[in-house]
Amino acid sequence: MSARRYDAVLIGGGHNGLVAAAYLARAGKRTLVLERRPLLGGAAVTEEIFPGFKFSVFSYVVSLLRPEIIRDLELPRHGLQILPLESTITPMDNGDYLGSWSDPDETRRELERHSRRDADASAVFGRLMHHMAMAVKPIIGMVPPDPASLAPSDLRGLLKLGGHFRSLGAERFHALHKLMTMSSADYLDEWFEFGPLKATKSASGIIGTFLGPRSPGSAYVLLHHYMGEIDGAFRAWGFQKGGTGGISNAIAGAARAAGAEIRTDAAVERVLVRNGRTTGVALASGEEIASDLVVSGLDPRLTFTRLVEPETLPGELLEGVRRYKFRGSSGKVNLALSGLPDFTCLPGKGPHLRGAVSISPSIEYLERAYDDAKYGEFSRNPYMDIVIPSMIDPGMAPPGKHVMSIFVQYAPYALNGGWTDAKREAFGDAVVDTLARYAPNIKSLILHRQVLTPADIERITGLSEGNIFQGELALQQLFFLRPVPQWAKYRTPIHGYWQCGAGTHPGGGIMGASGRLAALEILRNGR
């Protein structure tokens, strides 16, 4: 054992691990974070993978980082600086486009160009989603109560929740029920008629899940986007200066300022357990570090089957972890560009290049993309969410040059025959070919191309099956079911061993809520 003793050791320097570390250190605990890679952030990292060009390699925008975390940890003081990402355009196959701009009047007029009815509906739909988001928001901030438990704390939580839902009134409760059960395509069909609008809105319902827009349950994920809207006043939505690694570094800065120690290149091999209690961790180097409190920021599969001996855990838990769905469904293509892409639908260097470009011309297009994946292939014509970070933060690329981030879906982890170098490049080609249909000059601009499949995401970040949310954000594994029924409150059956990653409630996105709630729960329980 090394000489130093810690009150808390966190496994994994992803953003949730760092958030948890910062809260624990602020509460006076001697805290150590251990990160396997040379850099912090997990899937929220910035790397210069081509000289002079910086990439938010995996996660690329901030939308849901909890305002209370920003305030509690004083993240702006440690480098958090979120720049506005103002627009989205959806190129259409007929050469036109659908734009959504930062000014609501401009957006409304744009939508009227395509459908006056949808322009009217949009405002009413926005109001409904506002109410739905307000209805769900308290859930994000609470430790999930177990509905099968009679423990006073669970009952209190359930009562609070019951009271909250009663206060919604019948109309909103019914709307919420529909949102929880329908597919995003069906749900949006009730409101809108214009295909590219429905497709672009529904795309936010499929990100990171192995579902198509016509799969039931996909409507709920739409709501996650509106959660950002009601915190809109706080304006925590956009692009972090210097890429998403800047967020991780800001959180790490706050943790260090509170006294936490952070070590990189320090891979944890296993959690030490004696008589049902944790006593510390053993590193891959052989070093052992003693602590009565060990918190895993890794996903449930790694937390329960890699870091500890599975035999020491209850069979139901292991079965639950086995059933828990990862099914990575998305990939990433990062391009270093010698100039700006020229979109046929909006030629030139207009303001649309400072926002997102969504390749989602129709629901059919997205569903066909899903069909490929369903049968074990990557989408020949995938859904893509494209941003050019260097247009927002010029520091991301040399002057006049650009970086492009392309989020791609679908790329199934379980590809027929498995991922190979050749298949990775074929996937990259499919992405660039699809983009070239809308921006024909793209191929001539590419200085460097990085293609990341779910297998690459797993290999580099450790995220099982390359799922960006540490497990799908599907209803059957959310809230008191995340990751596994009865183990949704950040605890594990091993005394002193806790979980704080996105595989716990409320999960995914650079939100930090899992890390914060886990730390608060640990502190409330005296460990």
Binding site: P67, P76, S102, A233, R235, D393, P394
Partner: protein, 395 residues
């Protein structure tokens, strides 16, 4: 008829929502986009190009020009070297502030004074019997503020001037894009930045050169709305918003001394005779009656006021300029004069006049805000200004 600045032909086509305002009798862009988020972000992340030509500008020459300035302003003009710039207030005989601005020493006996209000008469009144020529060059000289972390990198592309050597509050003569200019390392944003002074006929050429060289660095034309947010973060006061000129205030209570508007640091009591010297010495002895400080709103308290109405908190994306009462223990102790949500600091900020002894940093106060048509108060804490002071400003 409102005047237009020498950059109007370049700025006007960019004002997409026709959001114009008045500034010292000039027509001025509030913002180029319908809202200022992106323009503000450029100030803090890249570089913003702001037309600040409506400033009043005077060239002072002649052997007594330093004497005139020393008599007028509160700082010690005898210590100002060639190439140096002073930010300073100036007062009436009662020690009440008339205006604030910058003095640049361009050559041995050549100075440029800027002011928010027209100052010709006051200069002339103070110059009686002195060998000094006062020329109002307000319309002859256009001014662009290039502000933000990449402003230096942009200037270096198109100017032979050595901007790594140009220190904070220093000025040089050089060319930018081949256009003769003076460049001062000054500004109203509290960030790394420069103000570029150009003869009006060459103004457009200067604008074009900066836009061309700056585009790869994210240069963004910005209007007054964006500037207003930045100057509040930087704790910089504004005439007619945060204080009133002693020459225009209708009642005594509206006048302020430098000590009362956080400019005590700019008063040099030991220097030779100057306007307001005796009154300021007396005030210094007894302590100022008012302090000018920052207020930082407590978010939880703010959010609670909205939650009572089942509303998410509402924040405007432009700064406010209005008087809002400030209370402590139920008694009004002062008033805020302007404020803004800080997109950078993620805090609601305000600038406020507070009575002694309530202006010490850390003091808990309450600020009046209106929520759903009802006047409420939210918790706030007194902060020392500036709220935001990056190293790069002076580095």
């Amino acid at each position: 008829m409102l005047k237009i600045t020498p950059f109007h032909s370049r700025t006007a086509p960019l004002v997409r929502a026709q959001t114009w305002r008045r500034w010292a009798g000039y027509q001025m862009a509030s913002a180029y986009d319908p809202h200022p988020d992106r323009e503000y972000a450029a100030i803090r992340n890249a570089a913003a190009l702001i037309d600040v030509s409506p400033l009043h500008k005077y060239m002072l020459t002649g052997t007594d020009s330093a004497r005139l300035l020393d008599r007028m302003i509160t700082r010690d003009m005898t210590k100002c070297t060639v190439g140096q710039v002073y930010y300073t207030p100036w007062c009436d005989a009662a020690g009440k502030v008339i205006d604030d601005g910058t003095v640049s020493r361009l050559a041995d006996s050549t100075y440029r004074l800027t002011s928010a209000d027209s100052s010709l008469r006051w200069l002339q009144m103070n110059a009686v019997g002195m060998n000094v020529q006062i020329e109002d060059v307000s319309e002859r000289v256009g001014t662009l503020a290039l502000q933000g972390p990449l402003s230096r990198a942009i200037l270096q592309q198109i100017s032979p001037g050595d901007f790594t050597k140009l220190k904070y509050f220093r000025v040089i003569e050089t060319t930018v894009g081949g256009v003769p200019v003076t460049v001062s390392r000054t500004g109203y944003t509290g960030d790394l930045g420069y103000e570029i002074w150009v003869e009006a006929p060459r103004a457009e050429a200067l604008w074009d050169a900066l836009i061309q060289a700056g585009t790869p660095y994210g240069i963004t034309p910005a209007g007054v709305w964006a500037l207003d947010i930045a100057r509040i973060e930087a704790g910089l006061i504004m005439l007619d918003v945060d204080y009133f000129s002693a020459h225009h205030a209708l009642i005594e209570a509206r006048k302020s001394s430098p000590y009362e508007i956080n400019l005590g640091w700019a008063v040099s009591p030991g220097k030779g005779p100057f306007n307001g010297r005796r009154a300021l010495a007396a005030e210094r002895g007894r302590g100022a009656a008012w302090g000018f400080v920052g207020l930082e709103l407590d978010w939880d308290s703010f959010e609670r006021l909205f939650r009572a109405h089942h509303l998410p908190p509402h924040l405007s994306n432009i700064a406010w300029r209005a008087s809002a009462p400030v209370y402590r223990d139920g008694i009004q102790i002062g008033y805020a004069t302007s404020g803004s949500w800080s997109p950078l600091l993620k805090q609601s900020l305000a600038l406020a006049h507070l009575r002694a002894p309530h202006f010490n940093p850390g003091t808990q106060v309450r600020l009046e805000i209106t929520v759903e048509h009802q006047r409420k108060t939210a918790d706030a804490v007194v902060r020392k200004l500036p709220f935001f002071d990056p190293e790069r400003k002076k580095a």
